[in-house]
Assembly symmetry: C2
Homo-oligomer: 340 residues x 2
C-alpha cells in the first residue's frame, strides 16, 4: 500500500509515451502535438503528479528557488519587504525560502551554506552587522545575490537601498526648520550602514543650519531595541535636555513615546519625535508617527528584478540602486515649547 510518489515514468507508462515526452509535455516544450500534450497533462493531473524539484534541478542546474536571509523576523520592516518580494517572485514562478538568523550573526554563514547546498538560484541578503566575509563566501561559490537595505564597505555588488543619508538630512532639516536646537538621537546597530548614513545625514543638516553637533545626544539603540530593555527607557530619555527625538526606526519610537506619555510628556506639544520606516499599517500610536517614508513595494520589486537579471547574466556589472525617501508628516512634530 505504501505507494511512493508518482514519477514521470509512471505517467509515461500510463499513457504509452516515453518519460522524456511526458517531461516535455509538462514543461510546454516545443515539438509536441497538441493532442499528446493535452492527454499527458490530463493524465498527470489525474494521477496527482508532483514534480520532483530535487531531480529536476540536479539535472537542469536551475531550481527556481530564491533564498532570503534576514536577521530578525520580529522586525516588521523586514516582514513587509519579505512578503512583497515573495509575491513578486511568485509572479515569476519562483519560490522564496526564508532563512532567519534570529539575531545570531554567526548563523549567517550556515544559512548561506544551506542555501548553496540547496542549489537556490539566488540569494536576497540583508546584511546586519557590516561583515563582509559572508559576501565573499557567496562570490566564491558563484552564487548570484543581491544586498538589501545596507551597503557594505569595499564590496562591489548589486545593492538596493533607501537613501538613508538623505533621510537623515530630511529629518534634521524638518526639525531645525520647526525651531528645534537640541536633540536626542536613538541609534541602531552601530556599524550598520543605514544607521551610519541616517546619523550622518542628520548631522549634515545640523551643520547646514548652524547647529553645533554637541547639541545632539546619541543613545545606542541596542538598549532600546532589546525588548527586556524597555524597562530602562526611562534612564535614556531623561533628563530631557532636548526638544526633539530622532528614532532610528519606528519600533524603537513606539515604546519611547509610551514611556514619555506616562511621565506626562505630551507629543508633539512637549517633545517632537520623528522616525524611520513609516510602518503605517501597524502603527499602534496616535497621532501616527511622523516618519521617513521608504517605499517597500519599490524596493521589493526592484530588488527581485535586479536579482533575476543577475541570475540571467552573471557578467553584468554590479549595480547600486538608491531609492529616494520622503518625509511623511503625520503629527508627532511641532515647534518646540518656548522656554519658560
Amino acid at each position: 500500500m505504501s505507494s511512493p510518489r508518482v514519477t514521470l515514468k509512471d505517467i509515461a507508462l500510463a499513457c504509452g509515451y516515453s518519460a522524456n515526452t511526458v517531461s516535455r509535455a509538462l514543461r510546454n516544450d516545443a515539438m509536441l502535438s497538441e493532442a499528446t500534450r493535452g492527454l499527458i497533462r490530463e493524465t498527470a493531473k489525474k494521477m496527482g503528479y508532483i514534480p520532483n524539484t530535487m531531480a529536476s534541478s540536479l539535472r537542469s542546474g536551475r531550481s527556481r528557488m530564491i533564498a532570503v536571509i534576514v536577521n530578525d523576523l520580529h522586525n516588521q520592516h523586514y516582514c513587509d519587504l519579505i512578503n512583497r518580494m515573495d509575491a513578486a517572485l511568485r509572479r515569476e514562478n519562483y519560490t522564496l525560502m526564508i532563512f532567519c538568523m534570529q539575531l545570531d550573526d554567526s548563523l549567517a554563514e550556515k544559512l548561506i551554506h544551506s542555501a548553496i547546498s540547496l542549489s537556490v538560484d539566488g540569494i536576497l541578503y540583508f546584511p546586519c552587522f557590516g561583515q563582509q566575509h559572508y559576501v565573499e563566501y557567496m562570490i566564491d561559490n558563484r552564487m548570484p545575490f543581491l544586498l538589501l537595505d545596507r551597503r557594505l564597505d569595499n564590496v562591489e555588488a548589486d545593492l538596493v537601498r533607501n537613501d538613508d543619508e538623505q533621510g537623515g538630512y530630511l529629518a534634521g532639516r524638518h526639525l531645525a526648520a520647526l525651531g528645534h536646537r537640541r536633540f536626542l538621537f536613538l541609534s541602531g546597530v552601530e556599524k550598520s550602514s543605514s544607521q551610519v548614513d541616517r546619523l550622518g545625514g542628520f548631522l549634515r543638516a545640523l551643520d547646514d543650519c548652524g547647529i553645533p553637533r554637541e547639541n545632539v545626544r546619541i543613545v545606542p539603540g541596542a538598549a532600546v531595541e532589546d525588548a527586556v530593555a524597555h524597562e530602562r527607557i526611562g534612564e535614556l530619555v531623561f533628563p530631557m535636555d532636548y526638544s526633539a527625538i530622532v528614532s532610528f526606526r519606528d519600533e524603537v519610537a513606539y515604546p519611547v513615546m509610551q514611556v514619555l506619555r506616562e511621565c506626562g510628556v505630551s507629543i508633539p506639544e512637549d517633545v517632537s519625535i520623528i522616525s524611520f520606516d513609516n510602518l503605517r499599517g501597524t502603527d499602534p500610536t496616535r497621532p501616527f508617527l511622523t516618519s521617513i517614508y521608504t517605499d517597500g513595494q519599490n524596493i521589493a520589486e526592484l530588488g527581485v528584478r535586479m536579482l533575476l537579471e543577475r541570475i540571467a547574466d552573471p557578467e553584468l556589472p554590479p549595480r547600486n540602486m538608491i531609492l529616494p525617501v520622503r518625509i511623511f508628516d503625520q503629527g508627532t512634530t511641532a515647534p518646540p515649547k518656548p522656554a519658560p
Copy 2:
C-alpha cells in the same frame, strides 16, 4: 575560470580515493580508517566543498529539511514560534524553511505542493481558516505533518495546541471574580478553532458565574485586525456598554487600548482588558497587558519532537497534545467602577 561547484568526485580525485569513500568519510559512515577519514575531511574543507542537497536527498530519500507553513509573518505570535522551532530543529541538524501564505488562504495548496516537490521530510502546519482538504493533500502524498495551534474538525492528525477553552474560561473567571458583569469580546477569524474555543471557554465561565450571555457583545475581529481598520475602532468600542474587554490576541488589544486612552478612558480604572498570547517581549503598552500565558517554548519543542517522531515512524497513532495555559496578570484588569 567558471569553475562549477566542488563535488565528491573532485575530492576523490584530489586525494586518490573513490567518490563513495569520500561520501562515507564525510557522513562518518563505518568501515573507514581514521587516517583516511581525516585526510578526506581535511581535503574537503580545504577545497570548500558544499554538499549538494538535491543529489543527496534524491538518492537517499531524506532531505533533513522541514517546511513550516504559516498564514502571516506580521503576527508576532507566529514569528516567535517559528524562531523557536527553527532553533529546535537546528539542534537536530534539520533546516527549517518558512513558507508564508500572506493571508491568502488559496496559497496553502501551492505551498504544500512546493514543500512536497522539494521533498521536505515533514511539514509544520498552522491551519488558519478551518479547511481540511489541505490536510488530506498531505495525507494523500504521505507527507508527515503536524498541526499547530488549531484543531480541525474530523481530522485525526498529530496536533499541538494550547488549551484555548481553558484560557477563555480563565479570562472569564478572572473578570467575573473582579465583579465585571458586562463585556466586549473582540473575536478573531470566525471559524478558527482557537477563536471558537476561547469564546466557548469564556462563555462557560460566565454560565458558571450566573452571568447571562446577552451581557457579552461580540465584535468580529477582522474589523480590528486589518490595519486600515484601525480607523474604525472607535465605532466598535463605543458605546461603552461594558466594563471589561476580552481581546482575541494581544496585537488586537494594543490599538484598542490606544484609542480608548485617547478618548480619556483609563485602563484599568475605567475599563479592564485581558487578552491572549502574552507577547511580553514586544508589548509597547504600559502597564503591560494582562494576558493568557501560552508557553511558546513548550509548543515549539514539543511540536518539533512530535514531528520528528512521526517522520521516524509513520505508523504511530495520531497524538493530540493540549498544553495548559495560565493567566498572567500584569495590571490592565481591576474591579469595575461603581455605578455613578
